[in-house]
């Protein structure tokens, strides 16, 4: 067996950003640490350690020894003691895979909480409420792991030895690579089973340590509009999973600016630094413990397509990316789909022919047909056909594929018609009630976003956002070699 140094590394290691070895989250921690940013100390059991664990069916003894050695290193770095007083060290144990599988694998918070640690922790932070919160988060995250992924009834016994907790948690997180949901996720997303997961063991910081503490996420740009203004969420006096669990209602991160201006300013500077170095907008997780800022993760921000379009152009204007790179990013977006339809004039109330459920968005004028076959196929070439059916049958599928919009008398948002219309990306209104009186050939306009069918062919404008026009212009100039 190779030396355990090849399998377990700490934050001081000179490592390349090998995502296959230390996962995405691990790569981000090393990247932030290497820039001297405030990251709680950590060590990582790599995917090679996972492979050895899988082959041996347990963590090999040299790795156990190395983990204990790394815990001593964490103690030295934090000045705390694992599993006891006077200032207890608690850790988080998290998976970090080469491919993000959000929520599929286990995470344990506040591990190392033993009977010997409880009193000193309460004394250090002077709050029984905070300690109770720490206990709840520990039991809530650890019990399922120690129960082997089974449902727990709250009686799962956890070891009182901090080292036993840690070794059990590491093996539990390794094992969660093969839980049912993770396997299913990998299958449908074609992620190789043998990638495996690395495990991050990181010193806990406490966002629940009083009013000057909290946890939050900061987006360096607005993920919906692409506006180059940081935004995000902040939960005061809360720990870790508070935002993602939905147990607490967050407030806008700007409130941190009022509560702790220096911390907010520092966060703002770091966010800007990370974005400039990554040349991508960032999604940053952070915790503030009694006025000290800590970064827990940064990753590329997942934005709406219109926001991605705007960001690519803004980063180009800011000189952060080249024109070639901007075009590459814009090429991955479906720019024509970013245009939307809108009525030129608001429809009159008496123009409403029928109302139903908005099953598939979009606005489409056309003529009503009840069948699409050889008798009206020629018309199909001249007109947008709106297929009107009481409900749909499988033999309507060919007609639905040729229709410009779909209207049904019966059925709901989960009806076959609604499902197929969404797949075909055609406007659809379902459950309109009896429409026997509507003659074949009647001109109508279907608003699948509002769930309304109007009489007559209403004027519709194609709204192309300015930012999309700019993007299209850049791409056509680039393709013609002018750019």
């Amino acid at each position: 067996m190779a030396d355990s140094d090849d399998f377990i590394i700490n934050a001081d290691a000179k490592t390349g950003a090998d995502k296959l070895l230390i996962g995405g989250k691990g790569t981000s921690l090393f990247w932030m640490s290497s820039q001297g940013l405030p990251v709680p100390p950590f060590f990582i059991l790599t995917t090679r350690a996972w492979r050895q664990w899988r082959e041996a069916g347990k963590l090999p003894q040299p790795h156990v020894t190395k983990v204990i050695e790394m815990v001593r290193w964490l103690e030295t770095r934090t000045g705390r003691t694992f599993g006891g007083g006077p200032t207890p060290l608690l850790v988080s144990v998290r998976s970090t895979g080469p491919v993000s599988m959000p929520g599929m694998m286990d995470t344990i918070l506040n591990l190392g909480l033993t009977h010997d640690a409880l009193g000193p922790l309460a004394k250090e932070f002077g709050s029984l409420q905070m300690v109770a919160d720490v206990i709840v988060n520990f039991l809530g995250t650890a019990a399922p792991v120690f129960a082997g992924g089974q449902e727990t009834d709250g009686t799962t016994a956890l070891p009182d030895s901090a080292t036993d907790q840690l070794l059990g948690a590491i093996e539990g997180v390794f094992a969660s690579w093969n839980n049912q949901r993770a396997r299913l996720y990998r299958r449908i997303n074609r992620i190789p089973d043998d990638y495996g997961t690395a495990v991050i063991v990181q010193a806990m910081v406490f966002g629940n340590a009083g009013d000057s503490s909290g946890t939050g996420v900061l987006f360096t740009r607005d993920p919906v509009s692409g506006d180059a203004q940081p935004c995000g969420e902040w939960v005061p006096a809360a720990q870790g999973e508070a935002i993602v669990s939905g147990r607490t209602t967050p407030v806008p991160v700007e409130e941190l600016r009022t509560a702790q201006p220096a911390v907010y300013q520092r966060l703002h500077e770091i966010a800007s630094q990370l974005e400039r170095r990554a040349r991508e907008p960032q999604d940053i997780e952070f915790t503030v413990q009694q006025g000290s800022l800590y970064l827990l993760q940064t990753r590329t921000l997942k934005s709406a397509p219109l926001a991605s379009c705007r960001t690519a152009l803004d980063l180009l204007d800011e000189g952060l990316i080249s024109e070639e790179e901007a075009v590459r990013r814009l090429s991955s977006l479906e720019l024509p789909e970013l245009a939307t339809d809108a009525f030129t004039e608001p429809p009159a109330a008496d123009a409403v022919l029928a109302t139903g459920l908005a099953a598939s968005p979009g606005i489409m004028p056309g003529i009503i047909v009840r069948e699409i076959d050889t008798r009206n196929e020629a018309a199909l070439r001249r007109e947008n056909l709106v297929l009107l059916r009481p409900e749909t049958s499988p033999h309507d599928l060919p007609a639905m594929r040729k229709a410009a919009a779909l209207v049904t008398e019966h059925g709901g948002l989960t009806s076959h018609a609604a499902i197929i219309a969404r797949e075909l990306k055609i406007p659809c209104v379902v459950g309109c009630g009896e429409l026997d009186a509507v003659p074949e050939g009647e001109e109508v306009t279907v608003d699948g976003s509002a769930g309304v069918v109007y009489r007559g062919r209403l004027a519709v404008d194609r709204i192309v956002p300015e930012v999309v026009r700019r993007a299209q212009s850049l791409m056509s100039r680039y393709e013609s070699g002018v750019a």
């Binding site: 299913l184 076959d373 050889t374 019966h410």
Partner: protein, 200 residues
């Protein structure tokens, strides 16, 4: 029983051909002949359907007529042996429940895809797989569906495998081969076999 009904292997194949043409909507004559050959029938089978008025030939474009549509229902119903109707009706009861759950799971899947909600995608897939396994159990218990809808059940299994092999479009896609499209067809065949109308 209608002419050419399901009292022989050829009758069964003719029913299958009629169903396939119906599912295509309007089809060129050459393609219809290919479908006939795939069903193990000669070109005369298609001519017979046209002559019987079950299929119309509009200048080389073929489609199933209303009498042909009724004939198809009669032929599917005729595949039920005496005494099998109650078993099929019990299966239809279970299918009704599963159909609602399937459509709900597929809708949740479409929503999760649109929102890029990976957790939601796995939830939807788990719900769908649960429905799929309960469908197979129900079909096996009733036995008759396993015999009559053998091809449909096999196509569902193919679609299921394709989704699990990393082609998620095969779950809700509008193409004939997707799980949802085949399920839709299975529902239609079940209704016709029992001579029932579709509701909603």
């Amino acid at each position: 029983m209608a002419p050419g009904a399901a009292d022989s292997v050829e009758g069964l194949r003719t029913t299958e051909l009629l169903l396939k043409i119906l599912m295509r909507g309007v089809i060129e004559a050459g393609s219809a002949r290919t479908l006939a050959a795939e069903a193990g029938l000669g070109a005369e089978a298609l001519d017979n359907l046209i002559a019987a008025g079950a299929v119309a030939d509009d200048e080389g474009l073929l489609y199933v007529t209303e009498p042909g549509d009724r004939r198809l229902t009669e032929e599917l119903h005729a595949q039920l042996a005496p005494g099998e109707e109650s078993s099929m009706a019990a299966f239809a009861e279970e299918f009704g429940v599963l159909d609602t759950e399937l459509k709900s799971a597929v809708t949740a899947w479409q929503w999760a895809i649109r929102e890029e909600d990976q957790d939601g995608q796995v939830n939807a897939v788990e719900r769908w797989l649960d429905v799929d396994s309960r469908l197979r159990a129900a079909a096996a218990r009733a036995q008759v569906p396993t015999r009559l809808f053998r091809t449909c059940l096999a196509r569902l299994e193919c679609a299921r495998q394709r989704v699990l092999d990393g082609d998620p479009d095969q779950l809700s896609g509008a193409q004939d081969t997707s799980y949802h499209s085949v399920w839709f067809l299975l529902h239609e065949m079940l209704l016709r076999t029992l001579k029932r109308e579709r509701e909603g």
